[in-house]
Symmetry: D2
Subunit: 137 residues, 4 copies
Amino acid sequence: MPAMTPEELHKFLEEHFPQVAHFDLKVEHVDDTTIRVRLPSKEQHLRPGGTISGPTLVWLCDLGFYLLLLGRLGPVAQAVTTNLNINFMRRPEPADLIGEGRLMKLGRALAVGDFTIRSDGSDEPVAHATLTYSLPR
Amino acid sequence: MPAMTPEELHKFLEEHFPQVAHFDLKVEHVDDTTIRVRLPSKEQHLRPGGTISGPTLVWLCDLGFYLLLLGRLGPVAQAVTTNLNINFMRRPEPADLIGEGRLMKLGRALAVGDFTIRSDGSDEPVAHATLTYSLPR
Amino acid sequence: MPAMTPEELHKFLEEHFPQVAHFDLKVEHVDDTTIRVRLPSKEQHLRPGGTISGPTLVWLCDLGFYLLLLGRLGPVAQAVTTNLNINFMRRPEPADLIGEGRLMKLGRALAVGDFTIRSDGSDEPVAHATLTYSLPR
Amino acid sequence: MPAMTPEELHKFLEEHFPQVAHFDLKVEHVDDTTIRVRLPSKEQHLRPGGTISGPTLVWLCDLGFYLLLLGRLGPVAQAVTTNLNINFMRRPEPADLIGEGRLMKLGRALAVGDFTIRSDGSDEPVAHATLTYSLPR
């Protein structure tokens, strides 16, 4: 059983990341090693050309994986990203973004996993990231 | 249906990579977007300390993903690795290594995917790589 | 001689990226294979904890390397990021950020380079990224 | 002053990595944050096509950066690679390979740096890797 439920993760986000509250990110599922989040399609993420920017996709991977770690470790965790590798593969469609994270290693010092972003209704990845977080002692 | 069967991939390896024939790599499954290979536990991969070396794991990810591309595109493909990112997570156990590849994008110029290595009988990844191959015109 | 001067790059940014104009990013130097940019220390990049966020550092690496490509190829280039790998190494100090990019390969299909961020007055990297851009035909 | 000289690093390699002794890797320079090594052009690294294989380049980056860490920390260090990201950029020419490493962060738990490989006599990188090593307590 994860240490935090989706509702507790939403509340944590509101309290600690008020600047992203308007993005309305939803945790749809979380367990010990996986998470699924939904980012509603909204204007403010869009580039002039009408597509979601690379930095927004990076932000979603990083935040989504952080929520997976919080769900596993609880709200006290002060984890920081040390490495992020991302491949951008397709332009997102004008739909919600679905992000799915997977925890591959939870060691004493490091957590490693990956995070895949798809457009809702499509199986083809928009972006895929692998992430390493340094964990507090 | 993939362009090449496991048997055809084995034959391709013998002909084009005779130097790895003694590793006895087996393709257990291949379809349009996934592959599973088995590397028997053998002495010659081992470091003095008794564990499989990082470069051997890199080689397995690179070769396994290349076989997935061959299975999809057929034996004419002259694909070369342009980027490889690997996280080493655990020491492998003294067992066969199971490698599973996934093709996430097959564009005109680039193919992108990932490859996960586990010890046979374990669910926990030993190493995980993402790879980009440049495809011939 | 680069195809675009710092002044032309500033003008290009204002026209094509009006949303980042208020960040006041300055191109201090550009030549065929290197660039140096300065991001003034400003409140709006800061996290609640007072430090610059990971996504802001990613954005700076990505934009700075893009400006290096523009400087080399001219304003017609429609290049897109395909891979970004970043290591976060230190918290930035409350100073301007200095970003230095280096073009390592300019092929027909791909450009590869790296980008290092330091706090002004310090030699120690805050973050280091390697990037691959896909180039238009 | 580094903890180990090039001569001590050569001796360490002979004792602890006898399997690579025949590669005749030379440490040409080492200081607290940089290293330069030379790998003589020899037949046994070559692929059938006459070029040096990707795994050989990975091995050289990994070993060269490890020697840089040893030079800094001394022979007791039991460091292991946790992340390696490599871009392959050009075919090496039939010449010695020159590898140059740079230590960007030496923390208590992690060391981060990069490693660039060129053909002797050329300025253009054959491959560039960033590496993270986990350090023993």
